[in-house]
Amino acid sequence: MRMNLSVMRLIGRVIDSDTQFHRGYQTPRPAPILRLAVAFVCILLCALSRNAWFTLAVLSVELLRTAMKPPRVMAHILRPVAVAVIFAAAFTAPAIFLGSPGSFGTITMKVCESVLVLSLMNEEVSWKETTGALSSLRLPGIVIFTLDTTVRFLVILGRFSNEMVEAVSLRGVGKRSWRTAGTGGILGTTFLKSQQMATATSEAMVCRGFNGSYAPGRRRLRANSRRQHLIDGLYALLIPLLIAGFIYTQRLMTAG
């Protein structure tokens, strides 16, 4: 009974911290660079794993973490996973009839695990933090800038083309040919607009003294508090734990 209560309390705290995160509170969370590293190690080890035990273990933990999220967030995380799993299952289904049903299960599970890890990271770490983490890996500033700007342009041009679609659909009531012509026009205008915006942005950068260096990492990845360091340290322990788990499960297969 006491143990059940403790487990419930633990789950409650996790949900609480997640809710706070989604409301925008600045609660200390593991550094994005560590999250990237753990996600990378998870995906790599699962890909290298020669049996299902390790993948199953990681998948269980990730699914447990997903289950602790609010329903809306859960749906957001699981949507891309479902699509990826359906595709993987469809592509590997012939293996069942060719006498290798194990491959069907393993590959589908590996795909599920990899996409789930990425989807969870996407939900918990903003794009800004991710590119900041990449910049701390000494990636050239221009790469980080390209990643940052791509997202910005996608959002702005998306809004722009959406407005044009609305304008065209208002003018093209009932006339299909109008709409077809309008689609071509929208694509062309969006392309031209993107060029104009790129020029204007580069000029804005020049006006602000751009000298070729773009280093947002420092500002995005500040971790000064002792609590933050403690959380980072504990989270970093996951990497050796994952490796140890991987070696153990591979040995299980050899022993079997």
Binding site: A200, R208, P216
Partner: protein, 226 residues
């Protein structure tokens, strides 16, 4: 003859492939301590004039001098000269959206300061100061493309002001702002008057000119300064 802060002598400019010049024999001067509004119909060459002042385009005829130094393609190729010019002149684009390119409001303000090569502590100090001054602290971590029009304008202004330029150039600063935003920005520009600063504003808004300008320069359809 006393030296003007900005001097344009018979400046003409035509975009490549266009027969009609966008600026036609413009001669004028601007000095520190004044706020000048440049008025004129659409397409009269106000934005082109600003592009030349910022060193983004160069006169096809005539000369542009900034504090006695000629600004042309040759001088702008020198990195130190270009850096000096961009440190002196701050520019507020008409469309703030294109001016904001970093991942957050805070980074937007810090960007120019980092490019100036200021020490980290100074970058942090000024970033905090201008976040407070422009009431942006609450949205400091937000992506600039996800904030409102007024916030975008304030972010762009804060980013320019944090660099503490001696010459401030603004292209239609009130565009895209609601009434309150326009009133706030008009008051803000009024408060910028200083002996050490030159303010140039391109606008169609006569009320803004009346409220802030020491002098109004008019341009006509023939791309000339009247």
């Amino acid at each position: 003859m006393s030296q003007h802060t900005i001097q344009l002598d018979h400046v003409s400019f035509a975009y490549a492939g266009e027969a009609v010049p966008s600026l036609n024999d413009v001669t004028t001067a601007f000095d520190k301590g004044e706020c000048v509004c440049i008025e004129g119909p659409n397409g009269c060459g106000k934005s082109t004039l600003f592009r030349i002042l910022l060193g983004l385009s160069y006169p096809t005829r005539g000369t542009y001098t900034l504090e006695g130094e000629t600004v042309d393609a040759k001088s702008m190729k020198e990195e130190a000269f270009a850096a000096k010019l961009h440190r002196k002149i701050g520019f507020l684009f008409q469309n703030s959206e294109v001016q904001l390119f970093t991942g957050s409001v805070e980074e937007e303000i810090a960007f120019g300061l980092e490019q100036l090569g200021l020490p980290e502590s100074e970058v942090d100090r000024r970033t905090e100061e201008y976040l407070r001054m422009f009431d942006l602290a609450a949205i400091r971590h937000k992506a600039p493309f996800n904030i409102s029009g007024g916030e975008k304008k304030r972010t762009a202004l804060a980013a320019v002001f944090a660099m503490e330029p001696e010459i401030l150039v603004m292209d239609e600063p009130l565009s895209g702002l609601d009434e309150d935003g326009q009133a706030w920005l008009t008051d803000f520009i009024k408060g910028l008057h200083s002996k050490e600063r030159l303010i140039l504003i391109a606008t169609h808004n006569r009320e803004l000119s009346a409220a802030v300008a020491d002098r109004v320069v008019r341009m006509d359809k023939n791309h000339r300064v009247i």
